[in-house]
Structure formats: structure tokens, C-alpha cells
């Protein structure tokens, strides 16, 4: 390289602009690569439990039923014609709560809920989730865990 003979302002600023552009391009590429890694790590399909599933026919749950379906981590409650499905996943930290006649109790950190899933003690921040129930064409009850409903929303048989 030849020695710089005249200090040229325009040359210096051109050089610094090129430097900044190159640095910005490199930083941008690095940022995009990092983002791509995050997108890669986010699965598009999951292999766990389906969010919609059948729990059986309405006759399987006579009035007064209060039964836990362990595999689905839900509790089915029926009073007369009214039926509801309440999640047994503790809203505190995701343990499975135990079902009793008086409500729900979590073995992990001692959260307690009443029969409707309202918090009555312990660290749980909110009440247990109620899921939407519908009757599928084949006559079976279908639960949709992607569709939480307000507490007290019953499916009427």
C-alpha cells in the first residue's frame, strides 16, 4: 500500500462508513443466526398428549360422580344433568392434584382447592381450569384442553 500523502477527509469518512457498514452487516448476520437457532429450537409439532380427546359416554358418569381420569389429568364432575371437566394440574407448579369429595389438594407445595377448583389455601395463584365439553357425533363426550371456559360453565346433558 502506498503511503498516505495527503490527509483526505472524504477518504477517511468513506473508510469509516465502510467499516461501520461491514460491522453492522456482521452483527446483523450474527443476530439473524441467533434468532434462527431459537426458531429451530421451537418445535412445530409436539408428540405429547392431544388437546382434544374423548372421555366416554354421558352414561358413564352418573349423577354425583366426582372422578379423576389420571391419564388425562382431569376430573369429571356431574350433578344431575350438569357435567364439567376440571383440570387436575395444579396452577402453582404443575403437579397433579389429588381429588377428594371436599375438593383438591396438591402434594407438592400444599395448595388446596374447593370442589369447584377455587383456591382455599397454599401458594396456588389461581383456581383450577375448567375445560370445554361437547358431544361428539359418535355420542361420546369430547374435552378440549385448548378451550378453557369460565368456572361454573357446565355442559347440560
Amino acid at each position: 500500500m502506498s503511503e498516505k500523502t495527503t490527509p483526505s477527509n472524504s477518504g477517511d469518512s468513506r473508510r469509516s462508513i465502510l467499516t461501520w457498514f461491514s460491522a453492522a452487516a456482521l452483527a446483523g448476520s450474527a443476530a439473524i443466526s441467533a434468532l434462527a437457532n431459537f426458531i429451530f429450537m421451537k418445535p412445530r409439532a409436539t408428540y405429547g398428549q392431544p388437546s382434544r380427546y374423548s372421555i366416554g359416554r354421558p352414561d358413564d358418569f352418573p349423577s354425583g360422580t366426582r372422578v379423576s381420569i389420571d391419564q388425562r389429568r382431569v376430573c369429571v364432575v356431574r350433578e344431575g344433568p350438569k357435567l364439567a371437566v376440571i383440570s387436575t394440574i395444579c396452577t402453582h407448579l404443575g403437579c397433579t392434584v389429588g381429588v377428594s369429595d371436599t375438593g383438591f389438594a396438591c402434594p407438592c407445595h400444599g395448595s388446596r382447592y374447593d370442589q369447584d377448583g377455587n383456591v382455599v389455601g397454599g401458594p396456588a395463584p389461581k383456581s383450577l381450569t375448567w375445560y370445554q365439553v361437547s358431544l361428539a357425533p359418535n355420542g361420546e363426550l369430547e374435552v378440549d384442553t385448548n378451550a378453557p371456559v369460565d368456572q361454573g360453565t357446565y355442559y347440560t346433558i
Binding site: F38, M41, K42, P43, T46, Y47, G48, Q49, D70, Q71, R73, H92, L93, G94, C95, T96, A105, C106, P107, C108, H109, G110, G122, P123, P125
Partner: protein, 427 residues
């Protein structure tokens, strides 16, 4: 090095000298019998040149460092070796992982022992890294110019916890499943991005095959590589920051007067100095300061070897006497009651039982932030290099209080919590 003698170049002479020549080609210096030899030994050996030729006397005072930094590193080495060995027999699959744990007991030579060693070393590493942090804090060693190395150390502590946490899932027993269910639910309480972090960690909505695979890759590749890189920087910075911290009066003149060296600003530097003269500060130290240094070989290396041997021996004894727990295989339907995290997270779990956000995110977040910021908040340089210095009464008291509170929460969580996390008496 002895003076080169006439080398016989004939084939017979070459064969006769073969072992000697091979040895000499690897080890350029004989075992040292002089100061020059001692300096050459650590200077020319790839492994030994991790240390400078000479170190300050204060750095090898056993009661100053308690050897905790070296001890942390030794546990990491033991974990790497046993971890790689265990990988030969482990399959990160929900259907096979637990059976492989049983196989380690039944049909792998030294399988039980290796798993014990890995498990107990992991517990030891968490405890020792924390104690090391305590030593650095209580001697005020995080202060200028060591702020950055303190932060690296804090990150290493967090990585140690995370490595331990990811390892916890791999046996796929009840403890594993529910500890990780609880732990990742805590992550979900982080504001705004909590749910996303949880989903990224688990690769699914709940702990399952995807989570097991992700935790496995994090545990055996990503975290060890990160830890190795940061440990390298941590070690390198010790030297660049002027060795281990020491009291300000450690280099006073023999008459007790403070050393006064005129510091010439860099721009006006003149004269000729060897490269080593510039390593710290703008003046050359040779002949200017009392020499309180000793040769790294053998003083420092033997001290480190001693710590290494004692640490490994302790881990071996514990691993031969006590078996690592293995609970029932995962039962997604029935959490054990109570479901407890590993002991070093039980303090957090106890806090979490009062409030998930404050116990799991708020309080630990503030603690970590304060720890990382402390070198920039506490700028006084007095009291560095002494345990429990009077000048540092406030800072030390705060640190010890926080540490003790954590210990108390851990004790309560471990011994005083029964089914449904109700208070029970262990007596």
C-alpha cells in the same frame, strides 16, 4: 540442559540412544535441581505453563484460599470423566433410560460406583463452587481489577446449578420427573417470556421424551462446553488481573514502609524493558519491589496436587460407602408426596411454597443481580485480601446473612416438610 555431547549418528548408536532421545524430545528439561530449572519446567511445559513461573507467597497460603477454586475444578474434571464413561451405557429415551439405570447396577462393571461418583461429585461441585464464591466475597477479592472475573465466576455458579438441574432428569425416576416438572413450571413464572422459555426447554407442553432429549444434549454437550470455555477465561483472568488478591501491605518494604514507585504515564515511557516488565503496570518491577514470590514449581503445583488428591480421595470414599438414590420409575399420574427437588434447590422450593413468582423468580433474580453488581456498587478498596476485614463489616455481614437464610430455608425444606408440604417435626 546438559551441554550437547558428541552424538553418535551411526544406526547402532541411534538405536542404543533411542529411548533417551524419544524422552528428551518430549521433555525438554530434566527434573529441576535449580531455580533456573524450576522456571524452565513450568515455562516450557504445555500443562504447567498455566501458571506463571513465580507466584506470590500469599497465593499458596492454605488458610487464605482453602484450595476451594482448585477443588471446584477437580470436581468438574471428575464429573467430566465419569460423565463420559456413563454416556457409553446411557440412552436418553423415556422407555429405556430407567432400565439403563438398573443395568448400571446389575450388568455394568463398576456401574454403581461410577454413578455414585458422578452423583456425589455433582453435589460436591455445587457446594464447593458456592464456598469458593464465599471465600472470594469474604476476602473482598471481587474488587478492582477483578470485577469481570467475579462476574464470570457468578455465571459459572449458575451454569453449575443448571448442569446439575439438567442431569437430574436423566435417570427418569420419580424424583427426576417431578423435580423437573416443578423446576420448569417455576421458569414459566418469569414475566413475559416465562411460558416461552418453558416451552423451549421442554420442547412440548409437559415433561416427556422431547424434554429428556433436550436436557441430555444440554447436560452432556452444551453446558460442559460453556463451562470449559468460561473456566479457561476465569483462569486466564486470574493471571491478567495480577494473580490472586492479597492485602495491600503484602509487598511493603522490609522496614514496613509502604512501597513508593513513581508511575510514569504510558505516553512518556522511555528506556528499554523486557517484555515481562510490562505485564503489569507501566513500570518494571525488577529490583523495585521486595521479592515475595516463590517458584510455581514445585510450591504451587505440589499444593494443587495435594488438593486434587484429597478431593478425589474424599469423593471416592463417599462413593464407595453411599449409593446414589434411584426412586421408582416415572409415574406421570402420581407425584410422590411430598415431591422434593435436590437439596440445593430446596431453599427455593420452600420460598416457592409461599409465592411461586417471588420464590422462584423474584428473590433469586434479585440475589443474582446483586451478586453480579456488587463489584460496581462497592468500590472501596480497603480490606482486600483479608478474611472478615473490619473495613468490610457491612458487606460481609450482608453476604453471610443471605447465605445463612438460604441454608435455613434448605434445612426447613429438607427436614421439616412432609406430605402436602405441611410442617412436620423430624424429631
Amino acid at each position: 540442559m546438559s551441554a550437547p555431547t558428541e552424538e553418535k549418528t551411526g544406526i547402532v548408536g541411534a538405536l542404543a540412544a533411542f529411548p533417551r532421545n524419544v524422552w528428551d524430545s518430549i521433555f525438554r528439561n530434566p527434573l529441576p535441581d535449580s531455580d533456573l530449572g524450576a522456571s524452565r519446567t513450568s515455562f516450557t511445559n504445555f500443562f504447567l505453563h498455566i501458571h506463571p513461573v513465580k507466584v506470590h507467597k500469599n497465593s499458596i497460603r492454605p488458610l487464605y484460599t482453602l484450595g476451594l477454586g482448585v477443588m471446584s475444578f477437580v470436581t468438574f474434571v471428575v464429573l467430566t470423566v465419569t460423565g463420559v464413561l456413563l454416556m457409553f451405557y446411557y440412552v436418553p429415551s423415556t422407555t429405556q433410560a430407567y432400565d439403563r439405570m438398573l443395568d448400571l447396577r446389575g450388568s455394568v462393571a463398576f456401574g454403581t460406583f461410577l454413578r455414585n461418583l458422578h452423583r456425589w461429585s455433582a453435589h460436591a461441585m455445587v457446594a464447593i463452587v458456592f464456598l469458593h464464591m464465599g471465600r472470594v466475597f469474604l476476602t473482598g477479592s471481587y474488587k478492582r481489577p477483578r470485577e469481570f472475573n467475579w462476574i464470570i465466576g457468578c455465571i459459572l455458579f449458575l451454569l453449575t446449578l443448571f448442569a446439575s438441574f439438567t442431569g437430574y432428569l436423566l435417570p427418569w425416576d420419580q424424583l427426576a420427573f417431578w423435580a423437573i416438572t416443578v423446576g420448569t413450571s417455576i421458569a414459566a413464572y418469569a414475566p413475559l417470556i416465562g411460558k416461552k422459555i418453558q416451552f423451549l426447554l421442554l420442547g412440548d407442553q409437559a415433561v416427556g421424551q422431547e424434554a429428556l432429549l433436550r436436557f441430555y444434549v444440554l447436560h452432556v454437550v452444551v453446558l460442559p462446553m460453556l463451562i470449559t470455555l468460561l473456566v479457561a477465561i476465569h483462569f486466564w483472568r486470574i493471571r491478567k488481573d495480577g494473580g490472586l488478591s492479597r492485602p495491600a501491605d503484602a509487598d511493603n518494604m522490609p522496614d514496613g514502609k509502604q512501597l513508593r514507585v513513581e508511575i510514569v504515564p504510558n505516553s512518556q515511557k522511555s528506556g528499554t524493558f523486557g517484555l515481562m516488565g510490562f505485564v503489569r503496570g507501566p513500570f518494571t518491577k525488577v529490583g523495585n519491589v521486595p521479592d515475595n514470590t516463590v517458584y510455581a514449581w514445585p510450591n504451587l503445583f505440589v499444593a494443587e496436587l495435594f488438593v486434587f488428591v484429597v478431593t478425589v480421595a474424599a469423593l471416592l470414599v463417599v462413593s464407595l460407602l453411599f449409593n446414589a438414590p434411584l426412586e421408582e420409575p416415572v409415574n406421570v399420574l402420581h407425584p410422590p408426596n411430598p415431591a422434593k427437588a435436590p437439596w440445593y434447590f430446596l431453599g427455593l422450593q420452600e420460598l416457592v411454597s409461599y409465592s411461586a413468582f417471588w420464590g422462584g423468580v423474584g428473590v433469586p433474580g434479585i440475589e443474582v443481580l446483586l451478586l453480579m453488581l456488587v463489584p460496581f456498587l462497592d468500590r472501596k478498596v480497603s480490606g482486600v485480601g483479608k478474611w472478615f476485614a473490619k473495613e468490610r463489616f457491612l458487606a460481609n455481614t450482608l453476604f453471610v446473612t443471605f447465605a445463612l437464610l438460604n441454608v435455613i430455608f434448605i434445612i426447613v425444606g429438607t427436614f421439616f416438610r412432609g406430605p402436602n408440604w405441611a410442617f412436620v417435626s423430624p424429631f
